[in-house]
């Protein structure tokens, strides 16, 4: 069997880069995207802004103090979705199999493409060039023998990165990372690890899997056991028969800016939708979960007749549900989006009425499906590359 080659593609400072791309006068300047109200929070910032110590989720007023010369821009979610779609199109024509995991991230299965693109590093270089030529955006590419490693490799090279972890060097690579860079390990876990005296992945390797399962929950224990050894713990491998699919984000600082929260909901909606599609499921019950700064948690859901077909629909329902209950105060500590009442995709009941809007949405859906189907046949990779050339004309 051929050695697995996975790419993780991450668009650098995505929202800010789109702004710089659409408005060339912003290039090279510290662009800060987020709610522009006084209670606003930074939802993204360009690397120029980061050198001033600005980072996402930072309160806007603080960003203004640190970076008074910054260009402050109100986010445009619709536009970001559009550009994201264009990037995914390119990825779809480049790689045999694409798995989009959020608005600005995707995994590419590049196993067996050496014949077309050369060594993985060379393929990564070509991909970066392609995106730069087409859309004037920079991406970071992480290459590894598993999704888990590739994801962390792209982070290691950021921005404009290209970083490969060779098969056999996973353990070395993981050991070189701080715990906070370990994918799937959040602030809460780090805190409890620290209280055990573990501040680096190597420290955790002393524990057996059974011990970790005992110390944490069984699932987190097993996850950590594999993660610190550089073995893919199976994120996004699509555990079958999950009864709901959801994802959530805990903020570094509590957020009360509605626009910023919407940005998070959009991102989460994409992640949830792509996982749902990956598992060939459809769901009729979108839900949102949120936790207030006061630590109270709430979940609200709505069951609709027709299954949620795309991320935008999920985002729409999720924001409606959230904003029906929450108006910006008290601030939020966590927001999550999910989809339940899942059924197999092939049992979808067809509708008599297809208004134009949902017809278009369905077309998009089907295009994504086709992409995925194409990806399953590696022998066609070369024709994909040709298809892409055609597209460029």
């Amino acid at each position: 069997m051929k050695e697995a080659v996975l790419f993780h593609v991450d668009m650098d400072a995505f929202y800010a880069s789109v702004e710089q791309c659409d408005n060339p006068s912003l290039r090279g300047k510290p662009v800060i995207v987020g709610g522009t109200s006084t209670r606003g929070v930074v939802s993204a910032c360009s690397y120029e802004a980061r050198t001033f110590g600005v980072h996402s989720a930072m309160p806007m007023f603080q960003a203004r103090i640190r970076c008074p010369q910054g260009v402050f821009v109100q986010g445009r979610m619709k536009r970001y979705e559009e550009v994201s779609g264009a990037v995914m199109d390119i990825l779809g024509s480049f790689a045999p199999e694409v798995q989009q995991i959020s608005i600005d991230e995707a995994f590419l299965v590049m196993t067996g493409t050496e014949g077309i693109y050369g060594a993985p590093l060379e393929a990564g270089r070509r991909l970066k060039q392609l995106i730069r030529d087409e859309l004037q955006l920079t991406i970071s590419v992480g290459i590894g023998p598993s999704r888990f490693i590739a994801k962390m490799a792209s982070d290691a090279g950021k921005p404009d990165g290209l970083f490969q972890v060779l098969p056999g060097e996973e353990q070395l690579f993981v050991n070189s990372l701080p715990l906070s860079k370990l994918w799937g390990v959040g602030p809460k876990t780090i805190e409890s690890l620290r209280s055990m005296g573990c501040t680096a992945p190597a420290h955790l390797q002393r524990y057996s899997e059974a011990q970790l399962r005992e110390l944490f929950s069984p699932s987190l224990g097993s996850y950590l056991y594999r993660a610190v050894r550089g073995i893919d713990p199976g994120i996004l491998m699509g555990a079958p028969k999950s009864r709901s699919i959801s994802n959530e984000t805990t903020f570094e600082h509590d957020i009360s800016d509605i626009e910023v929260i919407k940005g998070y909901v959009l991102e989460l909606s994409h992640q949830v939708m792509f996982r749902t599609m990956q598992e060939h499921l459809v769901g009729c019950t979108p839900f949102v979960k949120y936790k207030l700064a006061t630590m109270q948690s709430f979940t609200c859901q709505q069951t609709i007749r027709e299954p949620v077909l795309n991320a935008h629909q999920l985002y729409d329902t999720a924001t409606k549900l959230l904003l029906g209950r929450w108006d910006g105060s008290p601030p939020l500590r966590l927001v999550g989006v999910g989809l339940s009442s899942l059924t197999q995709e092939d049992t979808v009941q067809q509708s008599l009425f297809e208004d134009e809007q949902s017809q278009r949405q369905r077309d998009v859906e089907q295009a994504v499906l086709r992409l995925r189907e194409r990806g399953n046949r590696l022998s066609k990779a070369s024709s994909l590359a040709r298809g892409f050339e055609k597209k460029q004309k």
Partner: protein, 364 residues
């Protein structure tokens, strides 16, 4: 107020009142039924503020008067009596319900009728239709009404005038039922309306199916007078989808089956279709129609029927319930499944054709 009424006659009308009221708040006057005795008739009135009902029955009035009494309890009390005449008397805000012979005596607390919502009726009827015809139209269409509250405009039956005919349509976006009945009298133009199913179910359930129904339509209400009943309902506001656009034309493939056999096979195979998706496979080839369920944890079912079919072998996947509901009301010896392609809409209609059909979208 003092009167004597026959239990069976009164109980039948209170049961209708109960159907309208049930579900409303126990402590409000809306959970009460209004009774008014005068000139040897008892007027009975009930409402849930949307659907209102009024009827009259013959009684022996000794002292005229009116009151309102909790409908639910009133019905139960009536049911508990042996058949025959019952004495009713209003004494100090209590309705005394008694029969001397058996020494039965109930006292029900009443609410004075002054606050009871008044019953509005219509000035001019829009059309008259045979009671049997109207009940049949309701029967064919009520099965496809949507209960999805997010699509409230589909939560009723759409009614519009045709050419000397009356058209009723219902759909939930996945199936559609259509009937166009020719009327002997002219049908004047009226603005199409969306009628709540509660109103139509009441007509279907209580109509004697003899004589005719007078129907009146206003901007906000629909009224129906039949037998001794007056019924009214608010209409559903909203824009009904353009149903004409989705009624399939040019379906060249037809499969004709004996109704009874088909229905019984559906009932059997439906026992083992997936309970959530209700997915039923239909394979038609030559003169064979095979209904089957997919393999479930519990098992599978399969049944072969004889049919008359003029097209290529085809497999269709459908929600079993969507076939069974219309099959229950089609009421004809044979039915036809008409379609063009596997993924397209299927029309289920009686064979030979009548004035109604049902369109069903398959699963993909």
């Amino acid at each position: 107020m003092k009167f004597i009424a026959d239990r069976d006659i009164l109980q039948r009308e209170i049961l209708i009142a109960h159907d309208i009221i049930s579900g409303s708040n126990m402590i409000s006057i809306l959970s009460n039924v209004l009774i008014e005795a005068s000139d040897n008739t008892l007027r009975i009135q009930a409402t849930d503020l949307k659907v209102s009902f009024q009827t009259q029955i013959p009684i022996d009035t000794e002292i005229p008067g009116s009151t309102t009494v909790t409908c639910d309890k009133f019905l139960n009390v009536l049911r508990s009596f042996p058949e025959g005449d019952i004495d009713f008397e209003l004494i100090e805000n209590r309705l005394v319900i008694s029969r001397k012979k058996e020494r039965i005596n109930f006292k029900l607390r009443c609410i004075p009728p002054q606050d009871y919502p008044s019953f509005t009726t219509f000035d001019e009827k829009t059309l008259t239709i045979g009671a049997q015809d109207f009940s049949e139209m309701i029967e064919q269409t009520i099965i496809s009404v949507s209960d999805d509250e997010t699509r409230f405009y589909m939560n009723g039956v759409y009614m519009e005038p045709g050419q000397n005919s009356l058209i009723m349509v219902s759909t939930d976006g996945r199936k559609l039922s259509y009937i166009e009945r020719n009327l002997s009298s002219e049908v004047p133009f009226f603005e199409p309306v969306i009628i709540p199913p509660k109103f139509l179910n009441l007509i279907k359930k209580t109509s004697s199916r003899e004589g005719s129904v007078d129907i009146a339509v206003s901007d906000t209400h629909i009224f129906a007078d039949f037998d001794s009943h007056h019924l009214s309902s608010t209409l559903i506001e909203g824009k009904y989808p353009n149903y004409k656009r989705v009624i399939p034309m040019n379906q060249s493939k037809m499969c004709s089956i004996a109704s009874k056999e088909f229905m019984e096979a559906l009932k059997r195979v439906s026992l083992l279709v997936d309970q959530k998706s209700r997915r039923l496979l239909i394979d038609i080839e030559g003169d064979s129609l095979i209904l089957s369920s997919e393999e479930q944890d519990l098992g599978a079912a399969k049944e072969q029927l004889t049919c008359e079919y003029n097209g290529e072998p085809i497999r269709m996947v459908m929600n079993c319930q969507y076939l069974m509901n219309p099959m229950r009301v089609i009421n004809s010896d044979r039915v036809v499944l008409a379609f063009q392609d596997a993924g397209k809409a299927v029309t289920l209609r009686p064979d030979p054709e009548k004035d109604f059909f049902h369109v069903i979208m398959p699963m993909s």
